[in-house]
Symmetry: C2
Subunit: 353 residues, 2 copies
């Protein structure tokens, strides 16, 4: 990504010859490691989507979580990545009809309002703006832009997020490792590290996690795990141990199996909490609804398949849950969401005239 | 504390008239918030200790945990606080017979060796040097310098540490919040915060912890807890919520009671692991041994007394466990330990001559 000095971000709008004034949509997915922006043309109808989707440009930048990098840096990153995507697609801000910005760290209406305020300054007043938690983009990537159903994300962190067709929303988990996201990759790996320490100091049963983890980290004793753990506060570095836990569980280690089974229950519980609060399953518990499943923890294609176990758990309670593994990335989900919402409002306005 | 430029730390040794060349001992307790150094005269016999103990000087400085502030800063702080204590007591390094440096962050023989190496450069070669984890100073503060028995510390963090009379040692827990120190103040408070989030998003039962914690932190909704939690990485800030959990448990809240009961079991389990591994209780499990109990979590003088519950738990298994609440601070324990070890080696050398 190019770096511009203050104010130069949008200079390309005067420099390049802008292609036919084709209306476009921007979708952004801002996670804790990177931010992706997708530019798509406004498609005439939402009845059937073209396959493949007509993506005009894709731009990528660093972290845009304001909790992690601060307000100013987050804003700069988001502005830059949108400018890059528009520039790459030979378009500019006057062609934009709607923007959906789905970023991690949006946990409260005040977060949403703060981002909307400065996003408003950036675009003409007729542009439709939507600010959401990044989980919402993941949901939309499975439902092709429709805000209906539940998404379960389990990567380094975990969250369940859902919407009813009439716009009510609910979430569960997603509060980070200190606040009990035990089904996350970080949660699974931290439990495994804890089991190693407990086996080592006599508080817990023997487990093959000890030799497997020490070997993976190239450490010679469990005491050295303490120094390793606190040397770097990155949650992703700890979560990277999940495959070791899965291997030990597959090899029959009881401690590793217990950790994974508890993670499955935790993940299923998050989905259940959202489904119950929104009544997605209907009064008889049998209504069908999309359940989008995303993230490294749910994608392990090994014998011990966490995603499948979670789905089995949920299907028993809610036979109408339709598991969806998205085929497009979350930023495309965000763009489809912006387009969907834009079309809805556009048609409503046309109807009123 | 005065701040000296490099190399000036020991200047006072030439500047002040040094009192009678009375042999002295230094004891240091280096925790994660502060470092205390005590200077005591060498007492002639270890049979009966004078009451009060003849403390010549006490100096205090900041954090000296090398994991937290780095090697150089830790060394500077330790050197400075020793110089201050000697200067205050009108003494100097030539009068020192033994030093016990008990600092947090000593988890491995390599940590110990690194600190010993630079401590060696600071003192004449005949000075006896001992480097220990800070838990050892807490044990010695209860046993008046003898390395025998078990200490349980539960403040922001928790650790159990024990020694047999013939010098074997063992520890349990003390691996920090990521690695499962669930009985610590941080562990108790993090479980309570988690319970609030789970009650709020429908994953857990209702609990009065929610209103109690939100009121204490001056927040209006549970969603705001996420921002509060990650705004500051200090473990002590989270652990400060323990009294709120105790109050809710006393008022009959089931969730708070469960958290405290589990913490009691975790703390007792740490002690049990150390006692078992060292055989402190003898073969019939009834031998007597000192059990020193230290730290804010164990000192709550409320109706829900965590320390008493832990002791009840341990007494059932080990009727010979003698609970001790130290009357002197850990730095005095470190000084007594240095003095004790020095006397032992001194008598052995005298015997050989």
């Amino acid at each position: 990504m190019k770096r511009y000095r203050n104010g130069e971000v949008w200079d390309f709008e005067h420099e390049v010859a802008v292609a036919a004034n084709r209306p476009v949509i921007l979708g952004l997915d801002g996670g804790t490691t990177s931010t992706v922006c997708i530019c798509m043309p406004v498609m005439p109808s939402s009845d059937s989507l073209p396959d493949p989707l007509p993506v005009l440009a894709r731009a990528i930048a660093g972290c845009s979580n304001h909790n992690s990098v601060g307000e100013t840096a987050a804003r700069e990153t988001l502005e830059q990545v949108m400018a890059d995507a528009l520039s790459k697609s030979g378009s500019n801000r006057s062609a934009v009809r709607a923007v959906c910005l789905a970023v991690s760290g949006v946990n409260h209406p005040t977060d949403q309002q703060r981002i909307l305020t400065w996003l408003r300054e950036m675009f003409p007043s007729h542009v439709k703006l939507y600010v959401q938690n990044d989980a919402v983009a993941a949901l939309a990537s499975g439902t092709m832009g429709k805000l209906h159903g539940c998404v379960l994300i389990a990567g380094t962190g975990t969250i369940a997020y859902g919407f009813t067709e009439d716009g009510r929303e609910a979430r569960a988990a997603g509060a980070g490792p200190v606040l009990g996201d035990w089904g996350s990759g970080y949660g699974i790996a931290a439990q495994a590290l804890t089991a190693v320490i407990r086996a080592h100091d006599g508080r817990g049963p023997h487990t093959m996690l000890k030799s497997a983890i020490l070997q993976t980290l190239n450490l010679s004793s469990a005491d050295e795990l303490i120094g390793w753990t606190y040397a770097d506060p990155s949650w992703a570095r700890i979560a990277a141990l999940v495959p070791v836990v899965v291997s030990c569980a597959e090899a029959g280690d009881e401690v590793a199996n217990k950790i994974l089974k508890e993670a499955v229950q935790e993940l299923a519980l998050s989905v259940k909490a959202v489904v119950q609060r929104l009544g997605l399953c209907g009064e008889d518990g049998k209504n069908s609804f999309p359940l989008v499943m995303v993230g490294g923890v749910l994608e392990a294609n090994q014998r011990w398949d966490i995603g499948r176990e979670v789905m089995d758990f949920i299907s028993k309670e809610y036979p109408g849950a339709l598991a969806i593994r998205p085929k497009v990335e979350p930023a495309v989900g965000a763009a489809l969401l912006a387009w969907n919402e834009f079309m809805k409002e556009y048609l409503q306005e046309a109807y009123r005239r």
